[in-house]
Symmetry: D2
Subunit: 135 residues, 4 copies
């Protein structure tokens, strides 16, 4: 089986993302993870809202883990890398790495687990047509 594709997205740290200690506020890395998760769709010509939500599903985060290694600062160009780590019948796990876009130094790593639920919040099997663009 071939290695899973890694999606990358690069942007500058916003002033709004920093805090009074002068570095990026830690919760914002989860936001960046989500930006990269979205990119996983866009870079395949897909759209999480259109291809998952409008088919009647949501992927709420059920668990998240983040390791902070080096602080990011205002204006820094960061690259967030994301890849599908595991797909089960009704859930998936996506892994992330945030690196400085120039030095490629790792700033942060982590993962999120998601359940596939319907609009009533019931856990459902991921339909084959959605599964097809995950693995």
């Amino acid at each position: 089986m071939e290695p899973k594709p890694v999606v990358e997205t690069t942007f500058r740290v916003r002033y709004a993302e920093t805090d009074a200690s002068g570095i990026v506020y830690h919760a914002n890395y989860l936001v960046w993870f989500e930006v990269a998760r979205g990119e996983f769709f866009w870079q395949q010509g897909r759209d999480y809202h259109r291809d998952v939500e409008l088919r009647g599903f949501y992927w709420p985060v059920t668990e998240a883990s983040v390791r902070y290694l080096v602080s990011a600062r205002y204006g820094e160009l960061v690259t967030v890398r994301a890849w599908v780590e595991e797909v089960q019948s009704r859930s998936l796990k996506i892994a992330y790495e945030v690196v400085n876009a120039e030095s490629r130094q790792t700033l942060c790593s982590g993962w999120t687990k998601h359940l596939n639920v319907d609009q009533q919040g019931r856990v459902r099997t991921i339909p084959a047509e959605i599964r097809a663009f995950l693995v």
Copy 2:
């Protein structure tokens, strides 16, 4: 006509709300305005979601104005004061003042204008039963 009631809500500045210059990031005052707008409902035993949205209406912000006088800092107790400034048939204007909860020094003032729209985004007359708790 009697003066309009002013609703007050008091909370501490969160670390997440500060930025690298050491003070509260300016966009967060709009969030605080919205907290006070919500309080206008809660303190009357009402709920914006139940009493406006579930009746089929939304009040998107159509215009906002903010004047920043004194910076707020982490941990500071701030009081946000809100009052209905103007109600028209299909729109309303709410005014706000943020003060230091102890000294009562004014930190920020502003207002937001809202349109009453239905779920299709069409501008609609504010129903009498909603209007009743605004004026």
Copy 3:
């Protein structure tokens, strides 16, 4: 050894904290954890900024873990419970639980690990006077 005190703080979910799926955006639970971490100080008459930062230390988050059980929604009264789980010479771990303030149903749990660093980012031993209000 007596059980560690649990600090509680209660507030309403802000509209700003929700997302397009209608529930609280997952990264905001880390913000709530930090609000509770701050309360740990306030409720002892202390202040993280004054008692840690102004003594020359910062407690950056080095690791975070969150388990999401039940979604919170706009206007819901939530209580965040926090307690010191572990204090080592140069680091600490704080645990959290978010519950619905009325039903006490658990919505989310998690923990954060922090290093004690100085203004140059070097890892340092937690001074005895700071340690004293942690354990």
Copy 4:
């Protein structure tokens, strides 16, 4: 006098930026304005932090005005346009327009006023070398 250059920056709406009404939360437009303000520096090979803050100055927002015309949604490509509207000896005003990147439909417009203050918060004349890249 030639027209002032307009800086443009384009990005996708993040899920984190939406709220329970399904559209972008209104305070986030101020964040986007700031992203465009930063771009004004980056696109000239400058850096607000290095070229303003490290010279001892801050540009706190003293007033902001926003007009919301059309709601932005998750995943939408938006372009934020920014230009210096006015520079006085100790203050400046920057104007913004948010448009859909494809249709160029205007979604939002606004402006922010800033004072040039030193690290003690005193209002100071904008130094000639900083003024030089504003006008």
